[in-house]
Symmetry: C2
Subunit: 353 residues, 2 copies
Amino acid sequence: MKPGRNYSIKDIARLANVSIGTVDRVLHDRKGVSQTTKERVLAVIKKTGYKKNIMASRLKLASNHIIKIAVLLPEIKDDWSYWKWPKLGVTRAVSELLESGVRIKYFHFDADLEESFQANCRKILSENYSAIVTVPFMKDASNELVKLASVPDIFLDTYRSLNNSANFIHQDSHVAGMVAGRLLYNLVGEEGAYLVVNMTENGIVRINCQQRENGFRDFFSKNFPEKEFSIFSINHSLEDSHSISEELSPIFTQENIRGLFVTNSRAFMLREVMALLTDCFTVGFDLNYKNTELLREQEIHFIINQKPDYQGYMAIKGVYKYLTEGNKEGLNMKIPVEIIVKENIPIYEIDTI
Amino acid sequence: MKPGRNYSIKDIARLANVSIGTVDRVLHDRKGVSQTTKERVLAVIKKTGYKKNIMASRLKLASNHIIKIAVLLPEIKDDWSYWKWPKLGVTRAVSELLESGVRIKYFHFDADLEESFQANCRKILSENYSAIVTVPFMKDASNELVKLASVPDIFLDTYRSLNNSANFIHQDSHVAGMVAGRLLYNLVGEEGAYLVVNMTENGIVRINCQQRENGFRDFFSKNFPEKEFSIFSINHSLEDSHSISEELSPIFTQENIRGLFVTNSRAFMLREVMALLTDCFTVGFDLNYKNTELLREQEIHFIINQKPDYQGYMAIKGVYKYLTEGNKEGLNMKIPVEIIVKENIPIYEIDTI
DNA sequence: CTGAAAGCGCTTACAG
DNA sequence: CTGAAAGCGCTTACAG
């Protein structure tokens, strides 16, 4: 290889005694090349180690072409909304891909209203985006979206099986539950009891919270099939934040609860109860402001981070890779189960949100 | 904005009534444009939201141009060598950037011989690479390299202050030590004693191991300034793996050691001693084969991962970004302190090493 | 101070 | 089955 220089299609053409058009045909395995010519060209390509210049090919293919991606997330109700994070990651990816023609349009739906999600989906489908990034909270409407969309859709945050082929970038909630089991078991062992707190919205437990509880219980039954652990669980309405201390207090006193696993992002709502106990350890999810504060004060001991910003980032990068290279592998991804203690709280640049 | 289409430099030229050459001059803030013309062009650029097509500009600038990066790492002595990981990350980055003209040349040095490192540096400097990625194990030789190199050098794995401006992609070892302190403190509290095990090479403790011990001790003094903790530490020759059990056994029996912090990647060497104890928890570093095995068997309880593959990956990406965009921010980076338990052991595709 | 032209490497549409 | 030419958007070297 000549130093500091790549072979171009022109070099290959010259070395193989053909035109660049023919080299292009061979490279793309197109019709209309005689077997002998093809072999000759392939030999030269192999010998030279030719690599096509992706800049040049994209210049021609995608030049002048904007990739519009629709991002549909729940409404951001306050400054510390969870949904700021995926948006932050999306924004970061877009800023990297701005010059490559990627543009985002954000949509927001009311997480309590299926109709709101559906209306947004209809709007998006009518506007011709190249891809759709959203969350699969409403099962039927998500199925409908996958069925109607002719472009890839990527679901963030939660995995659930849908009828059609759908793409997911998410943390494995079952594994996350097992990790929570490990962390608490190390601290509590067999002497104390465990309490799993699920918070309900409109009376139901979110699917990934349920998966987390299953994983948690699985940790104990898989690792210690012969032993008996005291694992209680309660469901409590998310909306009713005042009564939660009252509901939990008797369980704590009666059952010697030493490990607390809160399956959603609201571990901070248990602050009052947790403060009453000296020997109880807590694992929660998500680095929201209040959880982070309690982690700093050691009222919460471990936070499992779903890296929502990274999810948003990878979704856009994955879509771009698919649309420009046809490579589907970036459309589905499992995000690592990140364990956070007080000392390794990540530092984010919040101001860019 | 016209849907599905980006403005090109040609559009801007037309709208501003100038030639594309003039638009280019304005875009790059070059000399030779009258103030009025410049303002007119800038107005159009602003109004249209013009973004330059990075493909096209790189095509012209970097076309035909290979970016050669020298990667100098310690010799890989066995199949589970730590240094395979950065190499894996480097390889992954290069495969993504192959079509953009990035090529790697690997060099290896004997980590016990400063002269071996120096000889490799001389060779690299004589061969005109666009960047150098290595490790700063030998202080003087590293300083010399930074002084002589006219291209960016990025040091992986370890931070140490060097005379000249050098770039580091590394995990903050002091923070990692504090995290280790937190993990063990949660389990052991004030009742038991802690033991920090440093392994020496040629009689000296590696700088990042020392930083980890300092961080570990700092965790206790910062969080509990009034309390007394029993923290012992020993240095033991890495080469002498047989005697380590003998040396540790008496300490264990005499001092009620309940928490073990091994500051390098060889926690697995303590297997025999650890097996004797039922109530002792261990934190070690790095997901090598033997540590991972012991983590699976719960002889080791936490592993702190330095993400060496990620370090290698980010080094190449950072260099590329710097060389193509002039953006220096990717040349320096702190890698998160990743906590690994049995349940969230990452799955790597080893076979691509 | 400004413009017109050539060229980066690849792809496409057309000619033979 | 093969080639020659135009063009993607930008940059550079040259002309005026």
